[in-house]
Symmetry: C2
Subunit: 194 residues, 2 copies
């Protein structure tokens, strides 16, 4: 049996694209504006679904960006948040970004996390989650967010993870609407919707 | 900024190891016995945490194995289930294993999925989840399974995913106990336990 492997990679355009941005994003709106633009670029360049995310340190410095790579990489786990967290861990060389809660890191995501990404936030060493569009915005165009606990924000808070919602929500939701209007594939909507 | 990337890889020993097994595992106990042995090998060979998983097709043919790779690959998302599902998708060349619910695939895991892997099961095109050890077995040695919905089995059933639990539970739980007894790192137990 040949052993399969998978290299999680950002699209080729990301390197050049990052040169057009500062390396530090002082305000939460700056950071959200960046990840929403990542989601917009990802659909305009046809390199994945309409979702962007990034990990920042406590000073607002970008550690790693992420975009949805499900379709191009044939992998259902490659949501933008998963890519950003996995690549931030590679950038810093540790599976616990917080290094035993000594350091704070923020995951900023253009749409609130699905059931999988919600769980992954608990393990990555993230101390703040910032969300743009809401679950309802993603579901209104046919994406399935999955069975998160009803009290998912409280569950994260209980683990010491702050959650901030609705940052630039309208701008983030507009990318979802434009993706749907383009007729692009709403993957998973058929596979296990009920 | 240099763009980080991550190649999800099975340990080197897996290729040779697979030659000692058949390619088809007819009974569910055969499949669980294999993934529990994967979890055992993974700790004996010191290539990750005490967890194994695999994806099988409807005929019991192994599509891809997975072992926990969190510590060796510095990545908190590399639970055994995530590795198995991602590599099965690579092996078959599609992000939806079921290919639009035309085909059935089973994820067999030595310990019931954590909050992240639970969510990931919803997106991978899996139609049956088979679990060995229970959450309580993992938590009893200090691993954190995260905030899954209380009714997580019903939530999967509602999505058309069958769930079978307690297959070879004692044998699976014994690997967890032996890992703890060895003094190996129970990662994440400090980071966000409450």
């Amino acid at each position: 049996m040949n052993l399969p492997e998978l290299t999680i990679q950002l699209p080729d355009w990301v390197g050049t694209y990052l040169e057009t941005w500062p390396s530090v994003f002082p305000e939460v709106e700056d950071r959200m504006n960046f990840v929403v633009d990542l989601s917009r670029q990802n659909i305009d360049r046809e390199t994945g679904g309409p979702f962007g995310a990034a990990v920042f340190d406590a000073g607002g410095r970008l550690i790693a960006p992420g975009v949805n790579r499900v379709i191009p990489q044939n992998c259902s786990i490659l949501h933008a948040e998963m890519v950003a967290m996995a690549l931030a861990q590679q950038a810093l060389g540790r599976f616990d970004l917080s290094d035993g809660r000594r350091l704070d890191f923020e995951l900023c995501t253009s749409t609130e996390p699905c059931a999988m990404c919600f769980g992954a936030v608990c393990w990555a060493g993230i101390s703040r989650l910032v969300c743009g569009a809401r679950k309802q915005d993603a579901e209104s165009i046919g994406f399935d967010e999955g069975p998160k606990p009803e009290n998912w924000i409280a569950a994260l808070n209980h683990r010491g993870i702050e959650v901030i919602t609705d940052i630039c929500r309208e701008k983030a939701a507009a990318v979802l609407k434009d993706y749907a209007a383009s007729g692009a594939m709403i993957y998973n909507s058929g596979a296990f919707s009920v």
